[in-house]
């Protein structure tokens, strides 16, 4: 420890005492400062500077550019849709695991795979979906093979999805791929909450003559909504910040904020480096609101889960 030298002045010893108390966390804070605070504040400052380094709000106002607004719109659209699907699907899967009394083997597989799939993303996820439901994928070929003889003698293949306007390499494909890690994440978050629903509550509500719908409407849902909403926010955030899957799946042709930032880093496509910083700042603000909401709701849930 630092205060091993003999000390006469009490003031000095007090200072060294405090230092001794803090010395163990100093490397951590140095690291955080260099690799987290410094880059973040740098972007933040850049968002409020013009190219000469003078203070300006022009970059923030510049976010109203139609191209940027469109990127935000598509990003929000994809994230909202996938988080909604993930939320609903994941909720019912968690329901099947807990209250739905699925067979034990199924529960075990579902829980294990949720833990694995929630951490699965990036380029391999895109490849998996291309191999499955891409233009030459397995499922695409299977569906294409389902043909019926039509009246005119020509065969009609109603499930030839690429002939019918489906494409994996756009918003719909991205939704399919994101759902792969979104709903398992929901399962992981919501299962403890569903397990926390006490049997007595159900029995009490049954005894009072409530039917199943009334139980969910008046008992279970009011308890569960903070967890569900919180989980939804987390799912939204994980879709909103994703880059690798979208890049690998669409080759950068889809118009997301993350893709736009990527192009801005590579070659200043916006024609103003500081506008890029404002773009990034906008993302962080949205993510910050999302995760704060999640944290607040999570605390609310923890209160009754612990009891």
């Amino acid at each position: 420890m630092a205060n091993s030298q003999p000390l006469q002045v009490s003031k000095k010893s007090k200072f060294l005492d405090i230092l001794g108390n803090w010395i163990g966390v100093i490397p951590f804070f140095i690291f955080i400062f260099v690799f987290l605070i410094l880059p973040s504040t740098n972007l933040f400052i850049g968002a409020f500077q013009d190219t000469q380094g003078n203070f300006t709000f022009a970059n923030i106002i510049g976010l109203q550019d139609p191209a940027i607004l469109k990127a935000y719109y598509v990003s929000l659209q994809v994230s909202v849709i996938t988080s909604l699907i993930g939320c609903i699907f994941g909720f019912f899967v968690a329901y099947a695991i807990t209250i739905g009394k699925a067979p034990k083997w199924m529960r075990n597989i579902l829980m294990t795979f949720s833990g694995l799939a929630a951490n699965f993303g990036g380029v391999p996820l895109a490849f998996a979906f291309i191999a499955t439901i891409g233009r030459t994928g397995l499922v695409t070929a299977l569906l294409k093979g389902i043909c019926f003889p039509a009246s005119s003698g020509v065969q009609s293949c109603p499930f030839d999805i690429y002939e019918n306007g489906f494409t994996l390499y756009g918003v719909l494909g991205l939704t399919l791929a994101y759902t792969y890690f979104e709903f398992p994440l929901m399962v992981l978050i919501i299962t403890p909450a569903l397990e926390g629903l006490k049997r007595d509550w159900r029995e009490a509500s049954d005894n009072l003559g409530a039917n199943s719908l009334q139980y969910w409407r008046y008992v279970a849902f009011p308890i569960l909504w903070p967890s569900i909403l919180g989980a939804g926010l987390l799912l939204f955030g994980s879709a909103f910040g994703a880059y690798a899957t979208a890049q690998a799946l669409t080759g950068g042709s889809i118009y997301l904020v993350t893709i736009l930032i990527g192009q801005q880093i590579r070659g200043d496509v916006l024609g103003n480096p500081n506008l890029g910083y404002a773009l990034a700042l906008g993302m962080v603000v949205i993510m910050g609101i999302t995760i704060s909401g999640y944290t607040i709701l999570q605390r609310r849930t923890a209160r009754w889960l612990k009891s």
Binding site: N21, G24, V25, F28, F31, V34, F35, L36, L38, P39, S40, N42, L43, G46, A96, I99, G100, K101, A102, P103, M106, L110, F113, G115, L116, A118, G122, V123, P124, A126, F127, A128, I130, A131, T132, I133, T136, L138, V139, T179, V187, I189, P192, A242, Y243, A244, Q247, A248, T258, I261, G262, Q264, I265, G276, Y277, A280, M283, V284, I291, Q298
Partner: protein, 264 residues
Amino acid sequence: MKTSRFNLWGLFWGTLALLYFFIPMYGTLDFSLRMQKGLISLRAYQIVLADHQFVESFLYSATMGIITVVISILIFLPTTYWIYLKLPKLRPVVEILTILPFIIPVIVYVFGLIRTFGRPPFRLTLTATGTDFLMVGGYVVLSMPYMFRAIDVGMRAIDVRTLTEASQSLGGNWLQTLINVILPNLRVALLSGSLISFATVIGELILADFLFRPALGPYMTSIGTTKAYEPAALTIMSFALTWVCLGIIQLVSRGDTSQQLTGR
């Protein structure tokens, strides 16, 4: 009790989920085996494994992963220990700081890194060593939420204060206590933190791609745009690797990974 209806309802969603899990897996596996027409073969795997670029990028990413894990433990283990021992009031602050990488998207983070360290006075991106240094720092940040939470959960389960007092009364200094007393009690937590950090680094694309380092992520993207069957084989291989890592965690922590994700 009207259980039969509920069983069906649960069974329906469970089956749907299993299909969603397994169809892309099966599709990829099937695709990866069909490189030779009309034949099930491991040709795509052979080609990938024989590609020296694959071997090099894999070794590079694995090295980065190990360095990241070591540095993460060196930073977060003493910090967390210290917080439990002396500065419990600091815990909420550290908790928020370590969750920041969830709030800042990786693409934004790499933007900040390049803007900060790619220019004077640092100019780290000019040399390969400088860029690698930057990459490791970035990887430690990216794996920080997992590593910190794993150690935090592990430390909460043991009585750090009593163990430390016991060790000190036997004459151990704090470093000895940390290594000989605390560390052995945290094996499971450290293992799961390390494996998830390693898996994160191995599969990472954005940092390596924008810093132009020859890691596995950029290699996979480049293969994806030029080849058909090799990407599927690579996906199966990266599945296997990641899932072995995560599978071990589930095994040692008895399936309780939910704690890490919800950050309770």
